[in-house]
């Protein structure tokens, strides 16, 4: 099995939003960052992958299994999911959550769970409702990592957390993918987090997949050029991916290989690329 997730021409229509013709592949052993503004379709994509909402068309395969097959329910033992909120009953404490999960997942590992709860400094007897957001998300991540999953699906798991906790959580995801059979799909609008740990970047904008590329190739293949409006016309049209004009000049996102070094192209950040592409889509 070469791919952990395959989506082929998936469409889902709501009264006010449509996820259009989404095709996406997450190779096994990789971390893919799904980036996009609020309402771009990231959560819808994750719910479609887990088959908790029905799609209008298209095919979805997860860990080699059609996600509408009867066998997919058993396969959920291999998938750790963290949603944008933790959604545990508020009166439960980590010990009780562990006991419930031990009866839920066939490969629940109490020792691994205890290890994560202690490592994240979560109080065993404190009720979930008295946890901070960071603690709640850490508990959700501890649960997701404690039943020997092969695939992690994380929906905004790091949003709203302070940088120190975010870093700690991202580190646990990196550790997870040291096993080559493990894969992660991580949705976020914090692009800097994705830049840190992802192998692939997929950018969703208003329900459409704008790009899906290997992160390093994307960063090396793109460049930012600062010039005047007059100089802009000297750039090859096919090289320009996005333009940001201001009274002081023009910044353009370009394909590095198509632009002369005379323009002194600079290395962009992932955030630069996403912002340029989003603006380009807005101008369409």
């Amino acid at each position: 099995m070469n791919n952990a997730i395959e989506l082929s021409h998936v469409t889902k229509t709501y009264p006010t939003f449509t996820l259009q013709d989404l095709s996406l592949t997450l190779p096994t052993g990789c971390i893919m960052g799904l980036v996009g503004e609020n309402g771009a379709g990231k959560s819808t994509t994750l719910r479609l992958i887990m088959n908790t909402i029905t799609r209008d068309s298209g095919e979805i395969t997860v860990l080699g299994q059609d996600n509408r097959s009867d066998a997919f329910r058993e396969l959920k033992n291999d998938i750790g999911v963290v949603l944008d909120e933790a959604y545990f009953p508020e009166v439960l404490n980590p010990r009780q959550v562990g006991q419930v999960m031990a009866q839920t997942y066939t490969r629940w590992d109490e020792a691994t769970y205890a290890g994560y709860v202690d490592r994240f400094a979560l109080p065993w007897k404190q009720r979930f409702k008295d946890f901070s957001r960071g603690m709640k998300m850490k508990l959700a991540i501890a649960v997701a990592l404690s039943h020997s999953p092969r695939l992690l699906l994380l929906d905004e798991a790091t949003s709203g957390l302070d940088p120190i906790i975010r870093d700690e959580i991202l580190e646990s995801f990196s550790e997870f993918t040291r096993d080559e059979s493990h894969s992660v799909l991580l949705s976020s609008h914090i692009v800097s987090d994705l830049e840190k740990i992802c192998d692939y970047i997929a950018f969703l904008h208003r329900g459409r997949l704008v790009l899906c590329e290997e992160k390093d190739a994307l960063l090396e293949g793109c460049a930012i050029v600062q010039c005047t409006r007059a100089q802009l016309s000297d750039l090859p049209e096919e090289a320009v991916l996005g333009i940001d004009q201001s009274p002081y000049g023009v910044r353009a996102l370009v394909r590095r290989e198509l632009v002369s070094p005379v323009f002194s192209p600079e290395k962009p950040t992932l955030e630069d690329i996403i912002l340029f592409l989003a603006k380009g889509e807005e101008q369409r």
Partner: protein, 195 residues
């Protein structure tokens, strides 16, 4: 499904401690009306559990876990059966042990059957529309059940049929039929709900 039941029991014992003690207290009092109330109230505990699930958005998380729709729905029915069984058992024990009570074992078992019938009729709506909207239907069912049972009793009295015998035989049949019909409807009702 054991995990779902365990979760519900943790939630109910933490959130409803006072009411659970009240149910047991009413069940212990050797009076038919008190015991009957305890048994009917016990049958409503699955609604409370569904309400707490809605509040914490547990269903969204459960959808990501290796649970089938049947298991989620069955866990609510099992919770109801368990609660009614405990309330009925305590009532029966109290009726047998404490002297002077008016509750007979047959009347308590009839109350348990009525409670399970009400639960079977209302749970599909709770599972489909949520507790807030399902509660309105629950009130309608209670009123309809009270009116129709009174009419039926009057009709039986007039025809000279022995009411206790009819109830003792009819209530278990009604409860079993209602639950057998309710389960597949509930599976479909919950499957149509989106979280």
């Amino acid at each position: 499904m054991k995990g779902l039941l365990l979760k519900d029991l943790y939630v109910l014992t933490a959130q409803m401690r006072f009411f659970l003690v009240l149910i047991l207290l009413f069940a212990v009092i050797p009076s038919y009306s008190m015991s009957g109330f305890a048994i009917i109230y016990a049958a409503m505990l699955p609604y409370t559990s569904i309400a707490y699930d809605e509040r914490s958005k547990w269903d969204q998380l459960a959808g990501m876990m290796p649970y089938s729709i049947r298991q989620v729905v069955l866990s609510k029915f099992m919770l109801g059966y368990l609660c009614v069984a405990i309330a009925t058992a305590v009532s029966l024990l109290s009726a047998l042990v404490i002297p002077g009570g008016k509750a007979s074992p047959a009347s308590l078992l009839t109350a348990a059957c009525v409670a399970l019938t009400i639960m079977a009729v209302t749970l599909p709506f709770m599972l489909r529309f949520g507790v807030e909207r399902g509660r309105m239907l629950f009130i309608l069912v209670i009123v309809a059940a009270a009116c129709s049972s009174m009419t039926a009793m009057e009709a039986l009295n007039e025809s000279g049929v022995a009411l206790p015998q009819v109830l003792a035989l009819g209530a278990p049949v009604l409860a079993a039929a209602a639950n057998l019909i309710s389960l597949p409807i509930s599976f479909r009702a919950y499957a149509r709900r989106s979280f």
